[in-house]
Symmetry: D2
């Protein structure tokens, strides 16, 4: 079971007021929740800067499904990396464009290379890799 700890933070009153305003605006119910979120985001960024911890990412690509042979090539890249590729969601955006979000796990450098390989495939119009994380280190 997760163990909760409590610690104190000292802060200038005006800084705290400005933060409270920003987080109220975003819909946070309380300050601890918001602090935890920015703490997690700091860890996610540090994990992605380093390369020693396996982590989680989502790759989002937009492509024209009419592009010859593209679906087959994308499927084939994904099947060659079943260790890293967890799942994919395919959305038909309009008569031409598809959006695919692909959930990946592994070392950041490996996920970046795999993402580069998919994004550079002819017919993929736009792609971006979004770093996230999971597990007990994120509380």
């Amino acid at each position: 079971m997760a163990q909760l700890v409590r610690f104190g933070v000292s802060m200038d009153a005006e800084l705290l007021a400005a933060f409270d305003e920003v987080i109220a605006d975003r819909g946070y119910a309380n300050r601890s929740e918001a602090i935890r979120d920015i703490v997690r985001d700091t860890i996610v960024r540090a994990d992605w800067q380093g390369d020693d911890k396996p982590t989680v990412a989502a790759l989002c690509v937009v492509y024209d499904h009419h592009a010859p042979d593209l679906s087959r090539r994308l499927a084939s890249i994904q099947h060659e990396h079943t260790d890293e590729i967890v799942a994919a969601l395919h959305v038909h955006l309009d008569a031409h464009d598809c959006l695919e979000t692909i959930v990946l796990r592994g070392a950041p450098s490996l996920l970046r290379r795999l993402s580069d390989q998919i994004i550079s495939t002819k017919g993929v119009k736009h792609g971006q890799l979004l770093a996230t994380g999971a597990g007990p280190r994120l509380g």
Copy 2:
């Protein structure tokens, strides 16, 4: 049918050599494909900076499915925004953590607000909104 045009670009030879090295490294088969990709990325960023063009995004959130009432609240937010929310992929990462990627369409400012609302929900550990785009403007 899409109409292809061809135009010339003049560039310093050393700059072009450095670019060719970067794109070979990423797996691009040819330079035109790589140029089209960075052109599209420039447009996607500009569209997100402005707010006058409806566009496409993927929100990726990680959360603990044991968090009381969280799944119900996330589902309820999504059902209140069926105009913007296109589809969602749910992945069970481990005994605790779920990853959900949610595909959104609409004005950038609206998608940011909706994304803030979901990310700030208690129990959501990490969330990020990834801007992309679709349609004939992206070729």
Copy 3:
């Protein structure tokens, strides 16, 4: 005089341990200092997303000082915006390239437009605008 307040944050023990590791790595002497820094960064990002608060930025451009007429054009843009441009540092990087960092103040949208204008000037090789902030809101 600045008034210090103190508040409590509750957090999962493993999340806190992961955060402590990241901030020790970066050289933070204590946790409060690190929390204040990520709180300020959250405010800076929110201020730049909005556009109602005047803020501070640094524009960093690299250019070839041999580019005909470039120094004159950059100086002239800066003189037309003396309300926004506070100061500039000019560094001679090598026989060709200069780096200039320009400190700006004003509304985010205005600073972005001014930055676009400078970066798009022929002969400017690379430019980026870095958002920061100042004043009592940042503690």
Copy 4:
């Protein structure tokens, strides 16, 4: 002397029209100049992702000059890294806050560590490292 080369790019007409609109908005006089800029930006990002090429960066920090001993500590860090630190610009923003932009050269990982060390110093309110580049590889 720099040698100019010219190459052709083929692109969907609607994509090109969207790009032309974005770059006109930013003030570019012609398309080649804009393409060169996004090509350079791609190289700068790749160089910062890798770590084998020495490059150039600007670190921008905001701090309260009343913070006890801070100026001395910042000066001392900078003097210990004269190989990496090229120059600095100091701006007095108001009665309390100073902004300093510090120009750095060296391997990306080294510049990141140095930047972390400066940003984590007690009294530094906000800091960010901005990657850029120079030399013949950027044309």
